[in-house]
Symmetry: D2
Subunit: 346 residues, 4 copies
């Protein structure tokens, strides 16, 4: 039985960790950390967990936590994990960080995009970028995993095989992404009020969103060269889901069958990546509540571009589900344990 | 392994049966019946099931089905099950009917409210009303179960203990219910279009909704007398969920603690009924995707009324989940097998 | 040209006042009061008003305001208007208060339900309850108008003719109301976040909502006796709209035609009350953006009850529209000036 | 008083024409054409118009219509207007066609993308593309106006000044557009059901949407060369609104101030185009119910691209509002008559 501690258990990503781990056969949550709700019953904060979780929220004491659990999930704002983690902790417990602190290898890029000083750059080399489908073997032996961002998981997996195979012109890559509102977190902010989001759509963080360098770094590894791309997130009036629509010039003439074969070669054995049939466009609703990534594409001979599309549930494959997938790999569990969640429709 | 056949597998309730049974350890769907989609891949109709269900839709041949499966679910329009079922079928397979055909014991009431002739009144006596929390023992030995309606499940369970204990004046009972749109089914009808439902709320079927006599009959058994009540359904711009707000005069002075104790006595051991803490109002979102019924109440000393509130997911406890709960009882499975679905929030 | 000042111009009700007054031929807003946004451009707070309103937000100085305008709207939290208004102000400008401060004639009832001390009880007698269809003549000469609440406007107008005519048993009256989320205001509070409201419905303030005594007082005047009733508000995942479903026992046998005739007698000449054809249920979407109240009803011979239904846009007839209607009456304008807003569908 | 006939008055675009024309001082609807609802009261089809429109739906007799009205709006499926219009009709009444029949000058392009034969190619030369801000003078004298598509209006106006000025590389232009569901019309189709659209986002018509050649043709005129671009529409769970996010390489180094100055030069005097302040991103909600186009942009020095964003209400500026704007121009009315609709928020 893996003993689990969660720091930030009352944010939406933390709550999704709780939902998923509740169904995990070999994991048990020992610590529901939530600075905002210390000493309150967890089920009073998330009433869906009434009669399911009986525990009370505790503070963020990572040192004590490390003595009591096997793995610590940090579902916290940027900077917190880096400010708390140290060799002593890592020697006692594995850490899966759902924030951005250990996603970027270059500390100066982190500090430029996140506008905060990195408090633990000494662990950047060691940290493994936890995109399971790509870094599976490294994850298995990691002590510290940087769980990928929601937009990035979707954006990277959708383009990865074609980037790796040199089929798309990386200088032409444009990612237009759309996200449900849970990605904005549970903070009580005016722009996230129902009346501001409902019946509305907008772009935000244009040419400046922090997930951009993360996507660039990972697709850069795939392409074997530095990548600079356009990434535009949009806020959609729905709770869950990310759709990434990605545009790139093709480097040579290809058929849909060839592209499909490439995707199948990379993802055919992947349980959580579903390469859709030709001409089928992914919809976020078809993956809601599950750990799936659905990927489709369309070649446009008129413009010699390919339009790639990927859909995930931002709280599952984009956050908590992937974190559990990483945990399973790190502890030698079946990779899909606790994650066999059938998408809920409608 | 229970072999399952579904007639009407491509409606929303049928699809929810598929979602739930996919996670059931001892059941396997052998027949995806769908007259509208014969010979089409099930996963082409419900793409959430891509790579999960590989089967193809078949027609509604109940005779053949009975030879091949242990239990037949009929998630079909009123009249279909009654027109197909017969002694031969029931001698070979158990039938769980999600339509209204066998819910009302009095055939004349059925024919008056549903405006169709009942084709199999000879089975009305035998059929068991499958509200598990109330008729558990009878369900266990039933051949034919009438799975309750969505509004009725919520409405009955919310008032049942107080009706049974004589604490409420049954002549004063008013049920104001609100439902998500999946309750209207997947038929392509103008009133169910997104633009007609979104940003809108309305009552419908006022003083005429077909679930009324079903609620009256069951609460009549509880009260030990004939019950006539007001039931008003409303359409809410959400996919899933039913909230029933029920008003009744109290027959004597009671404290909240007494009422709570009554609810606890009836439901304290029920896994799927959660009696909320005093002053907590149920919200449909807290039960979404799960088989729970959440019940709260408030005594109003000013009017000497009690306001009871119940919330369910109409497709789970209100349809497919309850149907599987019935199946588990009928086949000696653990009652909650396949139904340990944690509510999804947000 | 009526010179208008608004205190609380950046709440949702205040913003709706701005939207409506922008189209009023004989009124001009001179003062956009908003303590939270002082010195900010109004159109930066509400970008829909970009290039329409060029003014800047000012503070809440009611004394100065009274010297500069003909009418002051206070769209502010409870207690503010009562704490600022005085004889000097009322001698210079008319005041239309959108808060509850002057709605209840009995100061003790106000203090009991609102839990604050009333700072200006000396004006309670003078204040006119601004439900135009009922108090039209009094409004015309008022200096201080108490603009009715959103739930109350809808609830009262729906039942008023039948209460006045003695056709319904006032002791049996139950009002089950459903509101869009704009009624909760623009404050950044967790329960109003998109992800908490979307795909959800709940009751709140059960047997305790502050609009209850207001409805009771006004329907009491109609019935000529003290009225105590049940009122339950619900939060619906939509921006705008209130639907009130009201249940009452009939005092004698009546036909639908008789009831329709009563409604027509009271409202036939009212521009903003639309009595629907028999068996038509109102929908909030059909009045969205307009000052209409749509009213329908259904007699239930089985229970001898009548179900009355009313729909309004909570920000228009439930707040800003009615306030402008009051202003028109007070200044001798055409009552519908600025209010000929055609409902927007879809 | 302009006498107006509408063919297709009961679709969403037709209904919006009715809503807008109801507030037009110098126009009166004489004919509510609707093949599906002949002889039914218009207000029974759209209950928001109860007590506002008293007329009854009539059939699509364009010949008779031409004798009775000054202008005919055709808000009908592709092919209908072209199959009915003729010289006789045009000699008696002006025609504003909201379908695509006369938008493309090249009949072969029309027939290729729309897969139907064009029945009146002889009028293609004469027809004026009714994008008022660009073709104002031609519209004034037109007999036959092709009212632009919803996506196209937004897409073209957003890029037009930069295309015209040669500031963007037209070969790099990518338009990622997002639309509310009213754009799909009021037909009872499964993909437009509430439960299919709500909590969901998807791309559709990828590399194949019919608005593509229309955008290409018009931006081609601006650029003075043939343009081939990528256009991807998405379906968003909201009723109204289109957001176009457009990506293009810059042809030279420019500052935000220069770009802003270009937009202001083209649109500074346009009532219905609002060029937003630097770094402000348009939101569909800020233009809802109005005839505005809101335009913003962001230069990305990292990729040397510009991201242009435009927002409209698809039923107003994207359909009925623009059609009325065209009518005003054609009849010498004030261009904004009937269109001074203040956006509704929230």
């Amino acid at each position: 039985m893996i003993k689990v501690g969660i720091i930030g258990a009352t944010g939406y990503a933390g709550a999704e960790l709780v939902r998923i781990l509740t169904g995990h056969k070999n994991a048990r949550i020992e610590w529901y950390g939530s600075r905002s709700y210390i000493d309150q019953k967890y089920a009073d904060v998330y009433r869906n967990m009434f009669q399911i979780v009986d525990d009370t929220c505790m503070d963020d004491n990572m040192e004590e936590l490390a003595d009591r659990v096997d793995v610590i999930f940090t579902a916290t704002p940027q900077g917190l994990c880096a400010s708390l983690v140290n060799e002593g902790i890592l020697s006692k417990a594995k850490v899966i960080d759902l924030s951005a602190d250990f996603r970027l290898k270059d500390v100066s890029v982190y500090e430029e995009w996140y506008k905060i000083e990195h408090k633990a750059p000494q662990f950047l080399d060691e940290a493994v970028y936890g995109l399971c489908e790509i870094n599976r073997e490294k994850v298995k032996t990691a002590r510290l995993v940087a769980n990928p961002g929601c937009y990035t998981t979707c954006s990277i997996l959708t383009a990865y095989p074609l980037a790796k195979e040199g089929l798309i012109d990386m200088d032409s890559l444009i990612i237009d992404a759309k996200s449900g509102t849970s990605g904005a977190g549970r903070g009580a902010k005016l722009p996230n009020l129902f009346c501001e989001v409902n019946e509305n759509i907008k772009a935000y963080g244009v040419a400046a969103h922090r997930h951009t360098p993360e996507i660039e770094e990972q697709l850069g590894y795939a392409a074997g060269r530095k990548v600079t791309l356009s990434f535009t997130p949009h806020l959609v009036p729905m709770n869950r889901g990310i759709l990434a629509t990605e545009y790139a010039g093709l480097t040579r003439k290809v058929t849909p069958e060839e592209i499909k074969a490439v995707y199948d070669r990379y993802y055919g054995d992947e349980k959580f990546v579903r390469v859709l049939d030709p001409d089928v466009c992914p919809e976020t609703k078809w993956v809601e509540g599950s750990n799936y990534v659905d990927i489709g594409f369309k070649i446009d001979p008129r413009t010699n571009r390919i339009i790639m599309m990927g859909a995930i549930d931002n709280l599952v494959k984009g956050a908590a589900g992937q974190a559990v997938q990483n945990m399973n790999l790190m502890f030698g569990e079946r990779e899909s344990e606790g994650l066999e969640l059938v998408p809920m429709f409608p």
